[in-house]
Assembly symmetry: C2
Homo-oligomer: 392 residues x 2
């Protein structure tokens, strides 16, 4: 059975664009909505704005401006019957989610929503968001009542660089705000997602995605703790980890902490909700893992300081280069970057700490409030991805 629908994908960012391209490639007609007009024009010319995304070039060359039409204007999606929303959810300085982008997107969808349409959210959100917030935004903007449209949630599980293969191979879950919505959403999605699993509710689907992030964060905190214990005991952690891991043991890699828009953020979705409900004892491990990961920059600052004492110069004159300040190697992004925070921490301690990054120009480093320097001009280089301190 093929269901003829016209699908709108709202948000053509790193997660939304690969999804829109895969849907178009399945033979569906897709309207992609994004506030970035320039990006829309490029997509319609068949250009790929995410070159690191394997396979996306080819899909956009084939479908951009054809079966995938990008637009900045919601009214161009008015004839669609399925609306997939995949826009960012940011958090404030206290890690409280800021729903304004989501609300704006859903109110725009609501303004063109018709009876019988299906709306699916893909952005990772605190469990309960679809049932509570999204439903009420849509109702108030559309004037429709709850039973007059279908509403579901299906978390994106992409990974930059592998998004196309993730969509085509990796298991994807979908859950409805009610049973009919779940079934309707499943029937639409299975036309372009081969490995799809219908779960009992939107809330369960939301929880699934957040739990994955919590697993990662807590296990990175554990790896960092075991790394520091091994250091104290004079044990090579990398060697121990390599042999400790087997099909029932998955000790993660140590790091300077956890950066990016995902893993350091998702645990807070649960922590803040538990705090709001005064269930302080139900989120202690998630909270401590967050804290310990964030404190890893203090550990590295101490290690670097100890190394500085071996240089035959007054401490304030030892030239320190932090090599790598993006949050992850090979990705030019800074959100919650612990490497960037480490460079600032060292400078704040009064040390002559500067930075270098293979992805950044001198000006780009300086725009982050740091001084730039070549690693070869430093007395001490801290490689934040390899976790190596080199005395030159």
């Amino acid at each position: 059975m093929v269901i003829f629908t016209k699908i709108a994908v709202v948000g053509l960012g790193n997660a939304g664009l690969p999804l829109a391209a895969v849907i178009a490639d399945s033979g569906q007609s897709v309207v992609g909505v994004d506030i970035d007009r320039h990006r829309c024009e490029r997509i319609n010319r068949g250009e790929n704005p995410i070159p690191q995304e394997a396979g996306l070039d080819q899909l956009l060359k084939m479908h951009g401006g054809q079966s995938l039409l990008a637009t900045a204007d919601f009214s161009d999606a008015a004839s669609c019957t399925v609306f997939i929303v995949i826009v960012p959810l940011f958090v404030d300085d206290m890690f409280n989610p800021d729903f304004c982008i989501l609300e704006s997107a859903f109110r725009s969808v609501g303004s063109i929503l018709k009876e019988g349409d299906l709306v699916v959210l893909e952005t990772t959100v605190p469990p309960g968001t679809t049932d509570d917030k999204v439903r009420s935004w849509l109702q108030s903007a559309s004037g429709l009542s709850s039973g007059q449209f279908f509403l579901a949630y299906s978390p994106e599980r992409i990974m930059t660089g592998y998004s196309i293969s993730r969509l085509r191979e990796f298991p994807k879950v979908i859950g409805g705000a009610d049973q009919e919505s779940g079934i309707a959403a499943y029937q639409v999605y299975r036309q372009f997602i081969p490995n799809l699993k219908l779960v009992s509710s939107a809330r369960v689907a939301e929880m699934i995605k957040v739990m994955e992030g919590c697993y990662r964060d807590v296990n990175i905190a554990l790896a960092n703790e075991l790394y520091r214990i091994a250091e104290e005991l004079g044990v090579d952690f990398a060697e121990a980890r390599a042999q400790a891991n087997h099909p029932y043991c998955h000790i993660h890699l140590p790091s300077t902490g956890v950066g990016g828009h995902c893993i350091p953020v998702y645990p807070w979705f649960l922590i803040r909700e538990m705090e709001r409900r005064e269930c302080f004892d139900r989120c202690r491990l998630l909270r401590l893992a967050r804290e310990q990961n964030d404190l890893m920059i203090d550990h590295w600052a101490q290690r670097i300081l100890l190394e500085c004492m071996r240089v035959d110069k007054p401490l304030g004159q030892v030239r320190i280069c932090v090599k790598g300040i993006t949050y992850r190697q090979g990705v030019k992004e800074f959100h919650h970057s612990r490497n960037l925070a480490l460079a600032h921490l060292l400078a704040k301690k009064g040390l002559d700490a500067r930075a270098w990054d293979e992805l950044l120009s001198k000006e780009e480093v300086e725009a982050k409030g740091l001084r730039w320097m070549l690693p070869e001009d430093a007395d001490i280089v801290f490689d934040s991805f390899e976790l190596e301190i080199r005395l030159r």
Copy 2:
């Protein structure tokens, strides 16, 4: 190259006996030493004292009393050149390891140790034990100096019921107290351990085993925390977990906590050592995971109490049956059993809590300080393995 040796295995318990049998089955001559004379006699008659251990029956029938000779007398092992020690290490009430059994075993080995002999420890121990304690016990009991005998560490990775297949298939690590010891031990072990990996030191090998336990404990604590969050949010944790897990996500099962001789103990090996070194900030996650797992009985007590309020009886007269008080289903052991602790906790709160266990008689339940009752006679049954509270 076959090295002709006579191997002593010291400790014929659940871990030592399968190892001794596998070594005998590889064609080596083995002397098994155990303080339990009755157990030795049974083994020498070809009887299997661990019936739940798949494949052990056959090995003992073939080799017991033949190439595997069990004895309670260390002098019977005097002609051996390899000594493998695999005796229990218990902890006291404050989870400080009590080395007295290990020390006694090594001093006995030391009393018959000859120049050129190899000693290998298999018991899970705090990193550094082989280098420091074991070496000095052997030296003082044998009168030999450090370089006159070989010393190594190879942690057992058995699992009751699967020990034979674990020894024959699962990767096993071995590390020497010095380089020569590592190589000598590797050459002996690879004659009966097909999947063997030489690591750089005994200390690394010790750390590997302890880290595995820490991974398990922290991940069980995480599962318990996510379980309680899901409960608060009205999400079916089992469903969410089933779909969250994939090749990069391994969320564990929730429980009443963690019992047994292994997982609840190993994290303390690192915690206590870090505390001794005043590195309190290097073990916070391990400590909290221990605490949260141990506190799970309070969570279940609360859940049971809420259920009691639905019974039309005064609270103190509601008949509660805790079904399952051993530390793990199907294993008749109580060490650090949280299920047993939960039954006691409920009784201490003044509730009419009694216990039933499929592996235990009425007398055996009563010997644990609990009153016995059939589940069908209770108003409320808590199944401690299924985590189900049933109102009857």
